[in-house]
């Protein structure tokens, strides 16, 4: 049984999605999704523990050996990501019961869970696969189901947001597969390990450079690197709360992972950073994201959109770690994948609770909510402190590693810019804190009370995680630095 875990990790959500599509009642679909989502972290955790003890796991799909067959490969980085995605799914499902029931029509609820499980399947598949084209297939599986999920949002602007995301996301995925095609035509293989070993002879040819460029741009679209982030604010703002929370915590992270896999494992750090000016470009774009997106966030009236722009800024931190390309910086970027997922997941879940109670996320609507919903808003403040980077929370850990990484490169000016952008987040988080705790109660807020336990517990769990993993960093930083080490060493 345990030998089949890699396949089960992907097949179970797929089957679950099929079953959900056949369900006619929303609560039955939810139950199926719950079972699947709770089984996922168990599988991921077992695989990750084995990887940490014994080294990477290699699984040949259908028994066909790589490089002709499709290989599923779990190592420190992919295991980390699998655990992250499945944990987020497991935490969100109990919450989803009430949230989805209140935001989506009854007849569409089974379809929502179908899309959710398909998205989960796609994301887990991208993380686990060792085949480039297989990654494209899973990428599109997760993307198409995402477009569906977003379009189920209440506001009609969700449809426009889904359409815009569809256009941009498809362009991104198509660029990715174009790059893979160029790689395939030059090396004759689609398996990551195999391509890496064959790349030596053809390294300096133009198609390989073009392939790297195509893949980087394609994945940058998917991970919403500035200025290719345009789809993100609307998609997050108008999607159902559960979809936003899930996507914010997972979709962009998996795209980062795929890009890391290509840049470091397939092409190798020397080739990637010497042949294209990746370091400079990434650092410039990351800084633009950190400052630009934070500034825009400060002026938003819709709190969901504000947090979406905050996500763009936080993704800038991750890509900054990639641009630094040294052990400490890369560790910081990878650990921020996990940390940001915790922070943003928590924040969007809490916002979903607010929507459930008062029906709006305009900032005026939140006025005075601290008096009626103290636990929810208190948790919001703690997660907000993590975004700011207060020591004792996960946000600080990522920032520490990124800054020390920048120091080690001798770019002390980058350190000041890094901490400077955190100051901007003080402003927009502070704005929410002031409105929630200092203003008199708004008319929407009068209906507010604390939410049901099913919604509160998952959100509080994620908030607790942002504090716990900010103090006991052995798991997150330990795995992240192992992953960074493996990436920097390459697969050759």
């Amino acid at each position: 049984m345990s030998g089949q875990f890699p396949a089960l990790q992907v097949v179970l959500p797929l089957l679950g999605a099929l079953i959900c599509a056949l369900m006619r009642r929303g609560s039955w679909a939810w139950a199926v999704a719950l079972v699947v989502c709770w089984a996922m972290p168990v599988i991921s955790w077992l695989m990750l523990s084995e990887v940490l003890a014994n080294g990477p796991i290699s699984y040949a799909m259908g028994g066909w050996a790589p490089p002709w067959g499709i290989e599923y490969r779990v190592d420190a980085a992919s295991g980390f990501l699998l655990l992250l995605v499945s944990l987020i799914g497991a935490v969100i499902l109990p919450y989803a019961r009430t949230s989805v029931a209140s935001e989506i029509d009854e007849k569409n609820i089974p379809w929502f869970y179908t899309m959710f499980l398909l998205c989960l399947c796609g994301l887990l598949g991208i993380s686990i696969t060792g085949d480039a084209f297989n990654a494209f297939v899973f990428l599109e599986v997760s993307s198409l189901s995402t477009y569906g999920m977003i379009a189920l949002g209440k506001d009609r602007r969700a449809l426009l947001a889904a359409y815009q995301y569809l256009i941009m996301g498809t362009i991104g995925a198509t660029f990715y597969v174009a790059g893979v095609g160029l790689l395939y035509s030059m090396t004759g293989s689609l398996n990551f390990v195999d391509v890496a070993s064959r790349l030596g002879e053809v390294e300096s040819t133009r198609p390989i450079l073009a392939a790297l460029a195509f893949i980087t741009v394609g994945m940058s679209l998917k991970l919403a690197l500035f200025p290719l982030h345009v789809w993100l604010p609307n998609a997050y703002a108008f999607a159902p709360s559960v979809a936003t929370a899930f996507l914010a915590a997972t979709a962009t992270k998996v795209a980062v992972y795929l890009m890391l896999r290509f840049m470091f494992s397939v092409f190798g750090v020397a080739f990637t950073f010497d042949s294209l000016a990746i370091s400079e470009v990434f650092i410039t774009l990351s800084l633009a994201a950190m400052f630009g997106a934070s500034l825009v966030a400060i002026f938003q009236e819709n709190v969901k959109r504000m947090l979406a722009y905050s996500s763009v800024a936080q993704i800038g931190y991750i890509t900054l770690g990639i641009g630094l390309a040294n052990q400490t910086g890369l560790t910081g970027g990878i650990v921020h994948l996990f940390n940001h997922a915790m922070m943003k997941g928590a924040l969007f879940l809490l916002l979903g609770i607010v929507i459930y109670r008062i029906g709006t996320v305009k900032i005026e609507g939140l006025a005075g909510l601290g008096k009626r919903m103290p636990i929810t808003m208190g948790a919001f403040v703690i997660a907000g402190l993590s975004i700011i980077g207060t020591p004792g929370t996960v946000g600080f850990v990522s920032k520490w590693y990124l800054a020390v990484g920048a120091f080690e490169r001798g770019w002390w000016w980058l350190v000041f810019l890094l901490v400077g952008s955190s100051l901007l987040s003080v402003v927009y988080i502070g704005r929410i804190v002031e409105v929630v705790w200092f203003r008199p109660l708004s008319k929407e807020g009068k209906a507010a009370t604390e939410p049901p336990m099913g919604m509160l517990v998952p959100a509080l769990l994620l908030v607790a995680a942002t504090v716990y993993f900010g103090i006991d960093t052995s798991l997150t930083v330990g795995v992240a630095s192992k992953a960074a080490e493996a990436f920097l060493a390459g697969l050759k």
């Binding site: 402190l385 700011i388 980077g389 207060t390 020591p391 004792g392 850990v397 520490w400 590693y401 800054a403 020390v404 120091f407 080690e408 002390w412 350190v415 000041f416 901490v419 400077g420 955190s422 100051l423 003080v426 402003v427 502070g430 002031e434 200092f438 900010g470 103090i471 006991d472 960093t473 052995s474 930083v477």
Partner: protein
């Protein structure tokens, strides 16, 4: 109980207090009792640690590794012990005062108030007992965050604005300047642990040392060194017990304590003296002393006047550190204690005047001393201590600072100290004198005004007495301060 267990207990007590106060919220008397009992027990624990430290012990407690090779670690040494004693002792007095003030003014939301107080004290002890820069930084930030609700307690537009300045300035300086300084130290020195003699000798020299010092000193916004002092007057929107806490017990003291600790245990006094890289700081601190006093002269609002007085007085401690010799360090460290007791007296009196007579401006206080003699007499005692005249504690710290300036051949500083004392007289003494001897201004009768509530008066009496006792018995402070930077067993 071993010294290590005492350290843990000292940190846990106020933290547990937060929870207990919250639980007792519905029964105000029990809630106040919880605060007082916690404060008294804490003081007892700190005192027993004090005797250990005076005997040469340096207990260390290592909790966990947050980032590889950097631990959350506590170590008690003389300077931290001094700060902890002052903070925990004054918490008792401040709590007594708060009871009188908050009830006398019928302030709302008293339970969150006392809870945040306990949180602030917990973070203060964390700062006092920190063994490395990392631990110090964590509790420094927690202190800012736990005092923000206290500063904005009134909930008015003004309170919000004051809170904004407070938060942005303190978080801004700590994130933009202090954190990079800590990281820089980590990358160059390879360690963040406070070590007698400093950790930078041989690793950082010359202009870079001065630059690093600047990052640290300006990054510690709580020390209110100009031009990052604006948060202090802005925080005056808070209720007076909070102002007392900010100015005397915790926040500013945490700031100057951190400056002193970093100068002594990261830079090393001898290394600084040898490279001469702290001279610019002598000038900046001196300028702050002077400008702070001058601005205080122009302020009619009593709390604003006291705020700028604090800015000026804090610069004394920084000055002591900047002089980079042992007399200066002794004078600066003693001033942490003397100023704390003196300033808290002044703030208590200001609050008492507000509670009893609802007056906030200095010009309104003429003749008030005749109906509130106890308060105004205590004010005079506190003022004399701040000015630095015997028989009050402030005289000692000023004396040692002057000695330190002479040791460093900085006669200008000695002159500055004298000028500043004159300015202190000019902006502080008129208040009690006019209170006692001037006629009440027209249209503001002073009949019917009585003294402040009894708990306030008790607190005022205790701190005023403290000013006197610190002059007569300076030895505990002095002995402790002499031990700073010396290896144990000396």
């Amino acid at each position: 109980m071993s010294a290590e267990q005492l350290v843990i207990l000292a940190l846990c007590l106020p933290t547990i207090g937060i929870v207990l106060i919250g639980l007792a919220g519905r029964w105000p008397d029990i809630r106040e009792a919880v605060t007082l009992v916690t404060a008294v027990v804490l003081f007892g624990v700190v005192l027993s640690l004090l005797s250990d430290v005076l005997g040469g012990a340096r207990p260390e407690v290592s909790l966990l590794e947050i980032v590889p090779q950097i631990e959350l670690k506590f170590a008690v040494e003389p300077l931290g012990m001094l700060f902890a004693t002052i903070a925990s002792g004054l918490w008792i007095v401040n709590s007594i005062y708060s009871i009188g003030y908050m009830r006398g003014n019928d302030e709302p939301r008293q339970t969150p108030f006392y809870m945040c107080f306990a949180a602030a004290i917990a973070s203060t002890l964390g700062i006092a007992f920190s063994a490395n820069l990392f631990t110090l930084f964590i509790f420094y930030e927690v202190l800012t965050l736990s005092t923000y609700p206290l500063v904005t307690h009134k909930g008015t537009e003004e309170a919000k604005r004051g809170g904004r300045v407070y938060l942005l300035l303190l978080l801004g300086t700590s994130m933009l300047l202090l954190l990079p300084a800590i990281m820089w130290t980590w990358v160059t020195a390879g360690t963040l642990t406070f070590t007698p003699g400093g950790i930078l000798a041989g690793k950082v020299d010359g202009l870079t040392l001065g630059l690093l010092l600047a990052l640290f000193v300006f990054g510690i916004g709580k020390a209110a060194l100009m031009p990052f002092h604006r948060w202090l007057p802005a925080a005056m929107v808070a209720p007076t017990p909070v102002s007392a806490l900010l100015h005397a017990v915790a926040v500013v003291k945490a700031g100057v304590f951190s400056v002193m600790k970093i100068v002594v245990y990261i830079f090393g006094i001898d290394h600084l003296a040898a490279t001469g890289q702290s001279q610019w700081l002598v000038y900046v601190a001196g300028a702050t002393v002077l400008i702070g006093s001058l601005v205080a002269l122009t302020k009619d609002n009593l709390k604003a006047r006291l705020a700028y007085s604090t800015v000026s007085q804090l610069a004394y401690v920084v000055l002591g550190a900047a002089l980079a010799n042992s007399m200066g360090m002794i004078g600066g460290s003693m001033h942490i204690a003397m100023h704390a007791v003196g300033k808290i007296t002044l703030f208590f009196c200001a609050g008492a005047i507000y509670t009893a007579a609802h007056k906030t401006e200095v010009s309104e206080l003429d003749g008030l001393g005749r109906v509130m003699p106890f308060t105004f007499f205590a004010f005079m005692v506190g003022a004399l201590s701040i000015i630095g005249l015997p028989p009050f504690g402030g005289a000692w710290s000023k004396w040692y600072l002057a000695l330190g300036a002479l040791d460093a051949n900085q006669l200008a500083i000695v002159v500055l100290l004298m000028v500043s004392s004159l300015l202190n007289i000019a902006y502080l003494l008129p208040i009690p004198f006019r209170g006692f001897f001037a006629k009440a201004p027209k249209g503001t009768p002073t009949e019917g005004i009585k003294e402040a509530p009894l708990p306030c008066l008790i607190a005022i009496g205790l701190t005023a007495l403290g000013c006197l006792l610190l002059f007569i018995f300076p030895d505990p402070v002095f002995d402790l301060v002499k031990l700073i930077d010396t290896p144990t067993g000396q």
